[in-house]
Symmetry: C2
């Protein structure tokens, strides 16, 4: 569970996909109104599972207005007293990092962070719509972005902490912005590129199923059964082996495998990511060793990191090389003390529906559901404790990592095996050639 | 000076013009990139006169993104450290008032009010882009809107007070949203309707002048000379006479006529409205008597008020009738104690360029520059004191009105005469048949 809402989807952080400044944000090749409505229904009824009387914060690129408008209508029909949209626009964001004056990049739109926190404290549900231009900041000075994102992550830390511990229902979903669609479907006309990305989103989110809500219920049960099977094993560590990869990931004490839906303390069930195909848990922050090669490129901070490998010693990254995007990789690792350790390990078979689509999405919300992955940075509090909520000190003692960042990257493929290691030294196959063993 | 920024252009208040929920906010008939850029330059360099190191808050409908993107680029080039955009969307706003649950309309997006205030206190310049759908809320229950706007005005009062006393540079400008363009240019194809409204905006804002900045300097000096001429007269009252109108408007003690540019306490000159053709001052809140008939319809709160007349006694509206939009007229008058008294009187000749265009804009930013007008509600502090800033008690003693609202409506036309009455009972002609006398 990995595709966090953007730290600040305001006009200080890339979050949308309208990088062509002269594009008026037109909707290319809109899907039928009924599919759009069905998608909005799914996000409200399954994604955040909005309750009557509950406010809704939507953070979204202006390009996604056709979806957001439907979402607002569904939310009000459900009985929400207030749907508030924090819109963002990639072109405005890019203007800053391209043209802003030196020395100004620590300034963050604090009111967005404050507003988000205030709404979370009032129990608002949170829906984030992503569709970033993977190349938004191409050609700008990466130091500007690094300075900014660090300040923004600090400003947003209190709100982010509430959502990461499932204090409110939250959901991240996608909208096919034009620039993103162009990146995913390179070389085809714009209208077709967007239409194909719509189809991929609708398929992956089961909008096209006869009964989408029922299909999600079934899917969630399947992932929960998988998580339960892993929970019953109580592995001490996982070992990943494949081309360029031999990595041992020790798991946190009392770790819990989680999949699909989550639940607020008040018992409101929600789906943090749509789509989702993963089960995941918490690594032990000091027990990760070896070398790992990313199996897919990673779009991050308006850049794309490609062909990268990391070496871990005692839980920390001690070496990091990328064929492309080294600056952004270094920026992530230098975010803070915890950014060099792992906060998540997730298992996804190489035959997952999203992997089978054969599409590289340049968007974690999708790509993490095509391959097993690990994440640098903060761990999810609900991945330790076995149902009992731990306080921060207990979580840290269990090995849970903390950081202002959380960045997933894919390490699984049909060439990667995963073993489970028990405390007593026994080993068993978990995945073989990217598929569940046994 | 009358077209205030919208109280809350967020998703609780109408402010944009994308009322067709399925419209993806496309730009119809975009103007050339160079005219759009010239418009953005003018708004930044003359409108808010942005200084290096000064932040900029833009409040704008998402439909206006092509303009806002240019504005952001100009602002960053000027040296702004942070351009933050509070976007809004009419369709999301309408969803609330159409579908929201009863009893929920007092809820306001407080973070928008708080953020606006925080930015003003940091000295941000403020640009509001308007282009409301005049009929946005047609068919919804006016009580919902009345409840909401009262709560929103209260929440926004501290920020609004800062801009009304020119504590920061602020500017209101227009963008031709599709719904607005359809209303103004009824019966013509969408592309043409928008193109015509663009032309009207560019003409009225002198974007098409050879030297737009120079043209504005000259225009501002002309209006300031007019204001000086009126200031030299020291009228005790103005009397308006025409069809359905015989209204005596007593002026505040120490009133000051103002036109065109304003100035912050730090001396930063700016242009609160673009366009502007008016000179205006403060009525005495207790010295207005008689009957006045509006000379143009008034678009307010997503409704259009037509064929309306007011009767004043001792400064207060004691009777108000509208052929259409009575609910909205009543809502304005019932906003608070001060909403039944006047906060502004402005003179505009019937031959003003905007009047001559023959276009009814359904938007105060334009229509108030086509005719003399008065405003119910709060007075501008800079319209009394003769250059000396008054404190609140002094301003009240001078007759300045206070309110959470400020709504202008047009009362001038080529059939209306205006007399100036001196303290000693002498009377002279100020306007005859809508034109300056002498």
């Amino acid at each position: 569970m990995t595709r966090l809402p953007p730290t600040d989807p305001g006009n200080g952080a890339p979050s949308a996909a309208a990088a062509v400044p002269d594009a008026g944000g037109p909707l290319e090749a809109p899907p039928s109104a009924s599919r759009m409505r069905a998608y909005a229904e799914l996000l409200i009824r399954v994604g955040v599972n909005l309750q009557a009387g509950q406010g809704l914060l939507v953070r979204a690129p202006i390009e996604s207005a056709p979806l957001v408008r439907e979402v607002a209508r569904v939310a009000y029909r459900v009985g929400s007293p207030l749907v508030d949209v924090m819109w963002s626009d990639d072109a405005v964001t890019r203007a800053r990092f391209e043209l802003g004056p030196e020395g100004s990049f620590e300034r963050v739109p604090q009111w967005r962070a404050d507003g988000r926190l205030a709404m979370y404290r009032q129990g608002f549900a949170s829906l984030a719509v992503v569709g970033d231009d993977p190349d938004l900041l191409a050609g700008t000075d990466p130091k500007r972005w690094a300075t900014y994102i660090r300040a923004s992550q600090q400003a947003n830390r209190p709100a982010q902490a509430i959502s990461m511990r499932d204090g409110i229902p939250w959901c991240v979903a996608a909208y096919p912005g034009l620039s993103w669609a162009r990146k995913v479907n390179a070389g085809v006309p714009d209208g077709l590129a967007v239409a194909r990305l719509w189809d991929a989103i609708f398929t992956a989110t089961r909008v096209d199923a006869a009964d989408p809500v029922g299909a999600w219920r079934e899917h969630s049960q399947r992932l929960k059964a998988l998580a339960e099977r892993l929970n019953a094993r109580r592995y001490a560590a996982l070992r990943f082996r494949g081309p360029g990869t031999d990595l041992r990931v020790g798991l946190a004490e009392g770790h819990v495998w989680v999949g699909a839906s989550a639940r607020t303390p008040e018992g409101q069930e929600f789906m943090p990511n749509m789509p989702t195909e993963e089960v995941f848990t918490a690594p032990h922050r000091a027990r990760v060793d070896g070398t790992v090669r990313a199996s897919m490129p990673l779009a991050s901070g308006g850049a794309v990191i490609e062909g990268f490998a990391l070496r871990f010693e005692d839980g920390r990254v001690v070496e990091a090389r990328a064929e492309r995007g080294q600056d952004e990789l270094d920026r992530i690792l230098d975010s803070d003390e915890g950014a060099r350790s792992l906060g998540e390990v997730a298992l996804v078979p190489a035959s997952s529906p999203i992997a089978r689509s054969g599409v590289l999405f340049y968007e974690t919300l999708f790509d993490e559901n095509a391959a097993s992955h690990i994440a640098l940075g903060k761990a999810y509090p609900n991945t330790v404790g076995g149902g009992e909520a731990m306080d921060d000190a207990e979580a840290a003692a269990a090995g849970l990592n903390d950081s202002i960042t959380h960045v997933d990257f894919m390490i699984g493929s049909a060439e990667v095996d995963v073993d489970g290691e028990f405390e007593d030294g026994r080993v068993e196959a978990v995945m073989r050639a990217g598929e569940w063993a046994g």
